[in-house]
């Protein structure tokens, strides 16, 4: 478990990475982890799903709290991280769960559609 997270931690400042494949067949307890990155739309799959997206609650222009959404920042469930400019309710963007920001996948000030991913979050227990 911690191995996968260590790998992600290692990878987070390497934005050009397309895929990581880790294998360790030693000690009679083989481990195999594959992580794929897509710069336009992160589609990450590991053998334990510890990742989630914070998604846009409405269509409009994204207003992000830059400080709170830096990679490494920790968020609590329900914490406000921004809002959708101009939209009627719901326009508040809150973190659905407690976790750590891995990366922002949408830019502050950019137009964004309903359900579009904004932040990739790593979920803690």
């Amino acid at each position: 478990m911690t191995l996968a997270l260590d790998i992600l931690e290692w990878a987070k400042d390497k934005p050009d990475l397309a895929e990581i494949h880790y294998e360790n067949k030693a000690n009679g307890a083989p481990i195999e982890i594959t992580i794929k990155f897509d710069s336009s739309k992160p589609n990450v799959s590991i053998n334990e799903n510890r990742l989630a997206y914070i998604e846009a609650p409405a269509i409009g222009r994204l207003a992000l709290d830059i400080a709170k959404t830096q990679p490494g920042q920790r968020l609590n469930a329900g914490e406000l991280i921004g809002h959708i400019e101009g939209a009627a309710a719901p326009s508040r963007i809150t973190s659905p769960l407690s976790g750590k920001v891995l990366r922002a996948v949408a830019a502050h000030g950019a137009p964004i559609g309903y359900g579009d991913p904004i932040i990739l979050l790593e979920i803690k227990n």
Binding site: A58, I59, G60, G86, A87, P111, G113, Y114, G115, D116
Partner: protein
């Protein structure tokens, strides 16, 4: 110039196609459950505006307008249904500086009052269904009015719509009870009690006329469509010209439609609906639809015109071009293919479309959003595709072409009404085109059929 299409399904595809041919930029909007639908990828850009379901997306004015704002769209095509006849939305577009492709909001609002509409149309010399000229406040007044009109009568709620709030009163003895029931139900449904009477024309056919009017007031009425094949007030098949409108009657009918359009102050594309009596020359104005209609391709194929491009051009203040109503011996028919099981009382279905093949050849057109492996749910209306055929050789040739095309149309994975249309094409009364039948024809016809 960028135009947002505020709709989904086949009409969104239709509008985007028109925009492409006009060299205009297209913007699609979609609900989350529509994200893999063809109109989304066909448009130049697309925005998700809400979760599944029309209420949170296509019907949500604020979200549609936000999509127009962030995409920079300068006009909105509302399609049909959804916000197409919503005067509030038309006004909101105005306020946002976006051109609404349809009539003015203030005009649509005035026409929501049916008395007002009928008054304007009657004043223009267009025959209107005999009935009350203002709301009927008491059962005593209703009785004297009904006697003047002649039973059977229809008792209608002024603010009902879509076939609701209509009560048939076959004779005098039943009027009092119907009046009380209608009043109570109207109060419960819309908080208002306004009722009125109308003569019940139970031998009538439904004939409608497409009209176009530009912002300078020039108006054109197109050759009529006959939409008598209906089930529960829903059209299943439309054709043009009507087999029961002669070349002597047609000019009067089209002129009436043009005058009704002008009298109501409507612009853009509208459809004027009439009831035609068995004498095949008496017709009455029924109502006016202020949007493009599902069956518009019937007129397009008959006359060789593009109504959607015309609608967009008129909205951009272009003048009405010269349009001919010559159709020689052409005939055009449209079959609506719905996701319904004719063998199970037309129960709506759902599922994954596993096979989809379209017919081809001369005079065959399919308007659809279908593509193999598209998922059909029950969140929206059940229209899958429109199969439109046309022939230069008359109605029988058109019917033969429809039969041929239906045989080549394959949709699997979901129930469809293809078997219904195949049976209808072989019905001697429908195919004969001479024997009169009414909008209630299918009521007795359908139970006699075996659909597999």
């Amino acid at each position: 110039m960028k135009v947002l299409v505020a709709n989904r399904g086949e009409i969104a595809v239709r509008a985007i196609r028109a925009l492409k041919e006009m060299g205009l930029s297209s913007v699609a909007v979609y609900s989350q459950d529509d994200r893999d639908f063809p109109h989304v990828s066909l448009a130049d850009e697309a925005w998700c505006i809400g979760p599944a379901g029309a209420k949170e997306s296509y019907l949500n004015m604020e979200r549609v307008l936000m999509a127009a704002k962030i995409s920079g769209a300068q006009a909105i095509h509302p399609g049909y249904g959804f916000l197409a006849e919503n005067d509030q939305f038309a006004n909101a577009c105005d306020n946002a500086g976006v051109t609404f492709i349809g009539p003015k909001g203030s005009v649509m609002r005035r026409l929501a009052d049916k008395f007002e509409t009928k008054k304007m149309v009657r004043r223009a010399g267009v025959p209107v269904i005999p009935g009350s000229q203002k709301p009927t406040p008491t059962v005593e007044i209703a009785l004297s009015e009904a006697r003047a009109i002649g039973f059977p009568v229809l008792l209608k709620a002024n603010f009902g719509g879509g076939g609701r709030g209509i009560y048939l009163v076959p004779e005098e003895s039943q009027l009092s009870r119907a009046f009380d029931t209608a009043r109570a139900e109207s109060r419960a449904a819309v908080g208002k009690e306004e009722l009125y009477l109308e003569k019940f024309l139970d031998q009538a056919r439904h004939v409608e006329v497409q009209a176009a009017r530009d912002l300078q007031g020039n108006v054109h009425a197109f050759v009529e469509r006959d939409c008598t094949i209906q089930r529960r007030n829903q059209k299943l098949l439309e054709e043009s010209p009507s087999p029961f409108i002669s070349s002597e009657v047609r000019p009067r009918l089209l002129e009436a439609a043009a005058q009704a359009t002008t009298a109501c102050g409507l612009t853009s594309l509208v459809t004027v609906e009439f009831l035609l009596l068995p004498d095949q020359k008496t017709f009455y104005f029924m109502e006016i639809n202020k949007r493009i209609q599902v069956e518009h391709p019937v007129t397009e194929e008959l006359l060789g015109i593009d109504l959607i491009q015309l609608q967009i051009a008129l909205a951009l203040d272009e003048p009405l071009p010269r349009i001919t109503n010559d159709f020689d011996s052409r005939h055009s028919i449209e079959a609506r293919i719905n996701c319904e099981d004719a063998a199970q009382n037309f129960m709506p279905g759902e599922g994954l479309v596993t096979r989809f093949e379209v017919p081809g050849g001369p005079g065959v057109r399919v308007d659809t959003f279908l593509t193999p492996y598209v998922q059909i749910g029950t969140n929206y209306d059940s229209l899958l595709a429109k199969l439109i055929v046309s022939s230069p050789a008359g109605r029988q040739a058109g019917i033969n072409r429809m039969k041929r095309a239906l045989g080549e149309l394959h949709i699997e994975g979901v129930p469809t009404t293809i078997p219904f249309h195949q049976k209808l094409m072989n019905d001697p009364i429908f195919a004969g085109g001479r024997e009169w039948f009414t909008t209630r024809y299918l009521e007795t016809w359908i139970p006699k059929q075996q659909f597999n």
